[in-house]
Amino acid sequence: MKTAVIQFPGSNCDLDVLHILKDILHVEADLIWHRDFEGSDYAAAVLPGGFSYGDYLRAGIIAAHSPAVRHIKEMAREGKLIIGICNGFQILIESGLLPGALLRNQGTSFICKWVKIRLETSQTPFTKNIQKGTILNIPIAHAEGRYVNEPEGIKELRENNQVVFRYVNDHGDLTEDGNPNGSMDSIAGICNLDRNILGLMPHPERASEPILSPFLDSDGLKILSTLTQT
């Protein structure tokens, strides 16, 4: 079965994700216009980064109300894999598929930077091949990526082991200077209770080929390659 890369007007990273899936991982994948998307045709779906609908009103909110996201919800109910990257994460949050909110970065500016994230759980289909505690090199590029939630919500995420990635410093520690956007609990990515929906702000597709990495590695591939095993 194939993986869908969903294209909204304003999607930016659609072609990048498609390139990694098809040319690097040799997965069957389609770039699919949001209006033409039917969940039944696919085993997995990627909501790529960008500025869907120009981020009008609030990042991700317009796409969250599109028919395409209704299909995403259906796929999720069927247990299929969904990844939302950056704007895709924002869409998953706005559509209620993942809890919390993504607000303007602390410091308010857009930040494009390679950061380090730590894997907090191997118990998701997307991270089953990575050892817990592994530090990944990966870039972020966003203005609205500060994860926030009610204290109760953060507690639930922790208790249910839903925090998948946290920002860390160069030594792998949770520190203020390792947290680029001021996210609560240094959260960089989370999953749903059923563990088949992953949302993350960093861009694994930009860290999937050694030539593009300042560290000459391809840590993003460790996440995206799980889509080959669907």
Partner: protein, 737 residues
């Protein structure tokens, strides 16, 4: 009463007379507005065309040269690169956020018109000193405008330059370049060749914004310029992104015969240029245009510069297929007319002819007769008389915190420089950005350069140096420089001294391009960058975008020091050339002898470096420019988080030079390279073979930056502290209340 008395035009009496003569009658009000726009400096290049002819524009890689929306260069295997730079100085000086943003919008369309996918943006910015709150306001908002717009379009901003100088206090310079990639066989030219084709206006609705934006840009900035704010267009990056994707998709249908962006001069400019290039005419119905304001007059419809609009010509058979693409992307469009064989631009409004004028009359303005005169004030070739500073490490720290040298991280962190998964060498990594060509074992390097202080002291040498620096910058990453495009920013060309600067600048550029055998495939000219109150013009500044080709991905080289123990080799000779240097600026010394670039020396140094890199034993490269040897080495140490030690006695230099001159001279044709110790002699013999002075001047160490002279310790700096001052300087200035 004639119409010429009813509307205000900027045409000179001589130009008006010429227009009447060519038309054979009195133009009506609409036609007069069209002629006024098309014969403005901005659209017609009437002061610059005759001078720009001096630039070399041919070469084996040139596919499309000057005169089209962008230049196009062949990079092998059927792949082509389109690139172009444009100024958005006047709008940015009045309304920095939207002014800069729309500058990006325009340049993206220029690439798109050739059927190339935009893959990179570069920005070259100049502001007054950051001690001024006005300059900080301009700087902050221009950068934010570029970030917000560029990021949303999904095109990475990969490189640029920023200079600060009081001459840009009122008139900041905002030059934006775009690079695109495509296939030679799919190129389109903005030319209407086929009578009968349908003309479709696509994108944003037409409003009254930007009317006479180009005539505004063809004037100096004066007290009432604030009132010109309505002449600054408002951009919409989301619409732009959608237009980009829809245009590329429509072009894939190959039923589109030509595309052109609507920029300065609006519909009038696009229609007349496309038809006059193709030797055709057009007939359009203005009431068909989708508008966002009611009651617009034909004059306004023809001259509006509303953003995010493109003009397509489509074969009648292909019309339906192409329109379906616009429907899919939900982009508004209107079919506004057709291509004819008459050579006339005929505009109708509800059936009534409102303009009927030969396309070529509009696009072929009379040349302006400009007088050029060398300024009387001579820059004194000063000799440095004050003693060598006691504390040289302090000078080095202070140079690293000079805004022109200091890290521009504050700027490039705000730009998405990764999107597109092509950016191999990112901002700050090297002398140029490097983007790979996906699916091939090759990459391109791009950089934009100019040193306005040099150009002010000597426009000929200064501009020749800008070309040389661009070529060195791409060469340092392992690329062969293959083409340039330029953006001229000058004061009022009616001022004979400004016109002299312009002529000298172009001669200097032509000299270096010819010497390096690099063609110029396009350009942009911005005059009237002058404050009317003070009569002060900007320092003459022609920014040069250099495109380089890297034949193998393994050749890509960055500037960071890689490993302790490696040898540091300096290529090129150092002369006492500190005029316009950062050191003189720091110690408040004006004038002086500036670097004198010699094409043959540049060529020899560049060839040496490229050959060495291709041989595979070069681990880091950096061109030696602003701040001289001392600063360039410091930058390599900071980037690599390693130390180094070098001996001044080993530096190949002219006789009788002072220590500070050797350290801080900005002589041209120099590079710093590192290589494993065992390969140092190989590199030196390669240089010798090419007649290039070169020497091993030191080696990479674990920590600390040390300079010795004849084995005596001269300077010791902490790399950590150097990084702190270098990174912190601009944020600190921006935090000033």
């Amino acid at each position: 009463m004639t119409v010429t008395e009813t509307i205000k035009v900027n045409l000179t009496p001589r130009e008006l007379e010429e227009a009447r003569r060519r038309l054979g009658r009195e133009p009506n009000q609409t036609e007069l507005g069209m002629i006024d726009i098309m014969w403005s400096e901005h659209c017609s290049y009437k002061s610059s065309r005759q001078i720009l002819r001096k630039l070399p524009k041919s070469g084996r890689r040139v596919v499309v040269g000057p005169g089209y929306d962008s230049g196009v260069v062949d990079i092998g295997d059927g792949d082509v690169i389109a690139f172009k730079i444009e100024s958005h100085n006047h709008p940015s000086a009045i309304e920095p956020y939207n002014g800069a943003a729309t500058g990006i919008g325009g340049i993206i369309r220029d690439i798109l018109c050739m059927n190339c996918r935009p893959i990179a943006l570069l920005d070259s910015l100049r502001f007054g000193n950051l001690e001024s709150s006005h300059s900080r306001w301009l700087f902050q908002n221009v950068v934010k405008g570029i970030a917000d717009y560029g990021n949303c379009t999904g095109i990475p901003t990969v490189a640029g330059e920023v200079e600060f100088d009081e001459s840009f206090e009122t008139n900041c310079l905002v030059n934006v370049a775009c690079v695109g990639v495509g296939k030679a066989e799919n190129l389109t030219l903005g030319r209407m060749d086929r009578p009968g084709d349908i003309i479709v206006l696509v994108g944003g609705a037409t409003g009254r914004d930007g009317i006479h934006g180009v005539t505004f840009a063809s004037r100096t900035i004066h007290e009432e310029s604030e009132l010109d704010r309505p002449a600054v267009q408002i951009g919409n990056p989301f619409t732009k992104k959608v237009v980009v994707e829809a245009t590329l998709e429509a072009l894939r249908a190959s039923k589109v015969t030509a595309v052109k962006d609507l920029g300065g001069g609006g519909l009038t400019c696009a229609l007349s240029e496309m038809s006059s290039k193709g030797g055709t005419g057009v007939e359009i119905n203005l009431e068909e245009i989708h508008v966002r304001e009611q009651g617009m007059t034909p004059y306004e419809l023809l001259l509006s510069e509303s953003q995010e609009r493109m003009l397509f010509t489509v074969t009648p058979e292909g019309q339906e297929e192409v329109l379906r693409v616009f429907q899919k992307w939900e982009i508004p469009y209107s079919i506004i007319g057709k291509v004819t064989d008459t050579g006339l631009l005929v505009a109708k409004y509800h059936g009534r002819v409102v303009a009927n004028i030969t396309s070529r009359l509009l696009t072929n303005s009379p040349l302006a007769q400009r007088i050029s005169r060398r300024p009387k004030t001579k820059h004194v070739k000063k000799v440095l008389r004050r003693p060598v500073p006691q504390n040289l490490s302090d000078i080095i720290y202070r140079l690293l915190s000079q805004p022109d040298i200091a890290s521009k991280e504050l700027v490039y962190r705000q730009y998405d420089h990764e999107v597109g998964v092509r950016t191999v060498l990112k901002p700050g990594d090297a002398d140029a950005a490097v983007l790979r060509i996906i699916g091939a074992d090759k990459a391109i390097a791009v950089k934009v350069d100019c040193n306005s202080s040099y150009c002010h002291l000597n426009p000929y040498d200064g501009h020749a140096a800008a070309v040389a620096e661009g070529a060195r910058n791409v060469a340092a990453t392992g690329a062969e420089p293959i083409a340039v495009t330029d953006c001229c920013n000058f004061g009022n060309p009616e001022n004979s001294e400004v016109y002299w600067q312009f002529k000298e600048a172009i001669s200097g550029i032509a000299y270096m391009l010819n010497g390096l055998k690099i063609p110029c495939v396009g350009g942009n000219v911005s005059f009237y960058n002058e404050d009317e109150r003070t009569g002060r013009a900007v320092k003459p500044t022609t920014t040069i975008v250099t495109l380089g080709l890297i034949e193998k991905l393994s050749h890509i080289t960055s500037m960071a020091l890689k490993k302790a123990g490696e040898s540091i080799i300096l290529v090129g000779k150092t002369f006492p050339e500190l005029g316009g240097s950062q050191y003189y600026r720091l110690i408040n010394l004006n004038g002086g002898r500036l670097p004198h670039p010699v094409a043959s020396k540049e060529r020899a140094s560049i060839r040496t470096v490229i050959e060495a890199i291709r041989s595979g034993y070069i681990t880091a490269t950096h061109d030696c420019s602003k701040g001289g040897l001392a600063v360039s080495l410091a930058e390599m140490a900071i980037k690599g988080d390693l130390g180094l030690t070098f001996d001044l006695g080993a530096v190949p230099h002219a006789s009788t030079m002072r220590i500070d001159e050797i350290l801080f001279s900005e002589s041209s044709a120099r590079f710093i390279l590192t290589t494993p110790q065992a390969r140092a002699s190989k590199l030196l013999s390669l240089a010798r073979k090419r007649g290039v002075p070169a020497a091993k001047i030191g080696e990479v160490t674990e920590s600390n930056y040390r300079i010795t002279t004849n084995r005596k310790e001269l300077v010791e700096c902490s790399v950590e502290r150097m990084r702190e001052v270098w990174r912190g300087a601009i944020p600190k200035l921006m935090e000033m209340a």
